[in-house]
C-alpha cells in the first residue's frame, strides 16, 4: 500500500469518525466544570456519642463556623448527658423524690418536648425510661439479657406523669426516688436544630447537618433543587441506602432495629425499648423515618412512631401537620404517609416494595 492521497470518500469517513469522537468527549468536559457544582466544605467530629458531620455548600467566610457549631453541640451534650458527672440531667435524676432542680433553658425545653411526646403517645414513648435503659446497657460491652424480675421491679419507676415541670422557674422534679430521665431519643434532634441556628445566623443558606445519621437540611441545594437523602437499608452497612428522599429545609430522622443491638443465645435485642413491656419493641418494623421541619420533633417522633407500630403510628402521623413518615417492615414492604409520593421519594432497591 502506498500512502498517496486518500480518496475523498475516505476523508469524509475519517472526518465523521473524528467528529463522533469529539462529540463523545464534550459532554464529559462540560460535566467536569459545570458552575453549579460548588465543592462543599465538610468537617467532622465525634460528639454526643456519635459522628457529627457538617457540610456547607456556600462560600465559608467565617473559618471558625465549624468550631462554633461543635462547641454548641458539646455544650448541649454536657448539659443533657446521662454519662458524665456534672450534667443537669444527672443532677435532676439524683434529686428524684427529693426536690426541684433549676435547669438551663436548653434542658428545660428538651424535657418539655420529651414530656409532650410522652403524653401524645400515652406513655408508649416515655422520657423517664432511664432505669430500663440502664438495666439493658445496650450499646455497651456489658449488654446482656436482664432477668424478668429485674425488669418487673423497674417498670413502676417509668411514668412521665411523675416528671413535674415548672415553667416559671425553669425547674423540674422527679416525684419518685429511683426515677431516671433519659434524653437519648431527643437530645440529638435538639442539637441539630441549634447547629442550624448558628449556621443561619452566620448567613449560611445551603448546608446539611448530619448528627449520627440524623439529617437536617438548610433550604435547598445552591442551584435550587431539593437535597437528595439516602434512606438506610436496614440489612446493609451504614451509608448503604434503599431509597432516596428529597428534602427542602427539612429534617429526616430514622429509628431502626439495625442501629444498636446485641446478640444473646442466637437472638438479637435492639435498643428501642418498650417502656410498658420492658423489652425491645417487637412489631415487625425494621425502621421508621420521619420528615418534618424541626429536627427535635423528627428525633422524638422516630422513636415514638416506631413504638406505636404501623397502624397507630401512621394514624398519628396523618394527624400531625407538616409531618410525613416512611415505614420499612420486616417483610420488606414499605408504607408511606399521604404526603409522600414519587416526587419526593423513590425506592432504589427492588427487594423493597412500596405499598399504596
Amino acid at each position: 500500500m502506498h500512502l498517496k492521497k486518500l480518496s475523498p470518500c475516505t476523508y469524509l469517513i475519517i472526518f465523521l469518525i473524528l467528529t463522533g469522537l469529539l462529540a463523545g468527549c464534550i459532554p464529559q468536559a462540560q460535566e467536569n466544570d459545570t458552575p453549579q457544582e460548588i465543592k462543599p466544605v465538610i468537617e467532622t467530629t465525634f460528639l454526643m456519642g456519635t459522628l457529627v458531620k457538617i457540610t456547607i455548600f456556600d462560600e465559608v467566610k467565617d473559618k471558625q463556623i465549624f468550631q462554633k457549631v461543635f462547641n454548641r453541640i458539646s455544650e448541649i451534650e454536657d448539659r443533657m448527658t446521662i454519662t458524665e458527672d456534672n450534667s443537669e440531667i444527672i443532677q435532676l435524676n439524683n434529686s428524684a423524690g427529693k426536690k426541684y432542680c433549676k435547669l438551663s433553658s436548653d434542658t428545660f425545653y428538651v424535657l418539655e418536648k420529651g414530656k409532650y411526646f410522652s403524653e401524645l403517645s400515652k406513655g408508649k414513648f416515655d422520657i423517664t425510661i432511664g432505669p430500663l435503659v440502664k438495666l439493658w446497657k445496650i450499646g455497651t460491652e456489658q449488654a446482656t439479657l436482664p432477668e424478668k424480675t429485674e425488669i418487673a421491679s423497674i417498670l413502676p419507676l417509668i411514668n412521665y406523669k411523675n416528671l413535674l415541670l415548672d415553667k416559671d422557674s425553669l425547674s423540674a422534679k422527679l416525684n419518685t426516688p429511683g426515677m431516671i430521665v433519659d434524653l437519648g431519643a431527643i437530645a440529638k434532634g435538639y442539637a441539630a436544630d441549634e447547629a442550624a441556628k448558628i449556621l443561619k445566623d452566620a448567613g449560611i443558606k445551603h448546608a446539611i447537618i448530619n448528627l449520627g445519621g440524623n439529617i437536617l437540611t438548610l433550604n435547598t441545594k445552591p442551584d435550587g433543587t431539593y437535597w437528595r437523602l439516602g434512606l438506610q437499608d436496614p440489612y446493609e452497612p451504614r451509608g448503604d441506602y434503599m431509597g432516596i428522599v428529597k428534602l427542602n429545609d427539612q429534617a429526616l430522622v430514622s429509628s431502626g432495629v439495625y442501629e444498636r443491638y446485641f446478640e444473646f443465645n442466637g437472638k438479637r435485642y435492639h435498643h428501642i425499648l418498650n417502656p410498658q413491656t420492658g423489652y425491645p419493641e417487637e412489631n415487625s418494623l425494621l425502621s421508621v423515618s420521619i420528615i418534618t421541619k424541626k429536627s427535635i420533633n423528627a428525633d422524638a417522633l422516630s422513636t415514638t412512631i416506631f413504638l406505636l407500630g404501623l397502624e397507630e403510628g401512621m394514624q398519628m402521623i396523618e394527624n400531625l401537620s407538616g409531618t410525613e413518615a416512611i415505614f420499612i417492615a420486616s417483610d420488606n414492604k414499605v408504607y408511606v404517609s399521604s404526603g409522600i409520593n414519587d416526587k419526593n421519594f423513590e425506592i432504589t432497591k427492588d427487594k423493597f416494595q412500596l405499598q399504596r
Binding site: 480518496s7 460491652e141 451504614r238 451509608g239 432516596i244
Partner: protein, 129 residues
C-alpha cells in the same frame, strides 16, 4: 471514487480506535479513582486505593483516644473492612466489608471513620441512619 486497500486499513483503524475509547470505561471501570479514606479525629490520616486488581493488604493501626484501640484494616480488590479491633463493641468489625461511595465504617472509641470516595456524581447528598 474507489476505495483502495490503504483507505480501508485507515478506516478500520479509526473505527477500532473509537470503539476502544468508548469501551475503556467498561473494561477499566474507575481504575484509579476509588479509594478508602481513613479519618481520625476529624483529620484525614491516609487513603487506600481500591482497585479491582488490588492484592490483599493488611494495615495495622493504633487509634488515638484513652482507649488505645488497635485495629487491623484490610483492603482487597475494591473492598475495605476492619478485620480485628481491640475496641469493646467491635461495631467496626461487625459492619463488614464496604465498597460503595456512601458506605462508611465508624469506630467511636477510636474516633475514626473509614469511608469510600470515588469519582462520578454521587446520587445522594448524604444518608440518614
Amino acid at each position: 471514487m474507489r476505495f483502495k486497500k490503504g483507505d480501508l486499513a485507515i478506516i478500520i483503524l479509526l473505527i477500532a480506535a473509537s470503539i476502544s475509547w468508548f469501551m475503556k470505561d467498561i473494561i477499566w471501570p474507575n481504575a484509579k479513582n476509588k479509594q478508602a479514606v481513613i479519618k481520625i479525629d476529624g483529620q484525614i490520616y491516609t487513603t487506600l486505593p481500591l482497585d479491582s486488581s488490588n492484592e490483599r493488604k493488611e494495615m495495622p493501626l493504633t487509634l488515638p483516644g484513652e482507649n488505645n484501640v488497635h485495629s487491623i484494616i484490610v483492603t482487597e480488590k475494591d473492598k475495605v473492612w476492619v478485620k480485628e479491633s481491640s475496641c469493646p463493641n467491635k461495631i467496626c468489625v461487625k459492619t463488614g466489608k464496604i465498597s460503595k461511595p456512601s458506605q462508611s465504617i465508624v469506630c467511636l472509641p477510636g474516633k475514626t471513620v473509614i469511608y469510600i470516595e470515588g469519582t462520578g456524581k454521587k446520587d445522594v447528598d448524604d444518608v440518614s441512619f
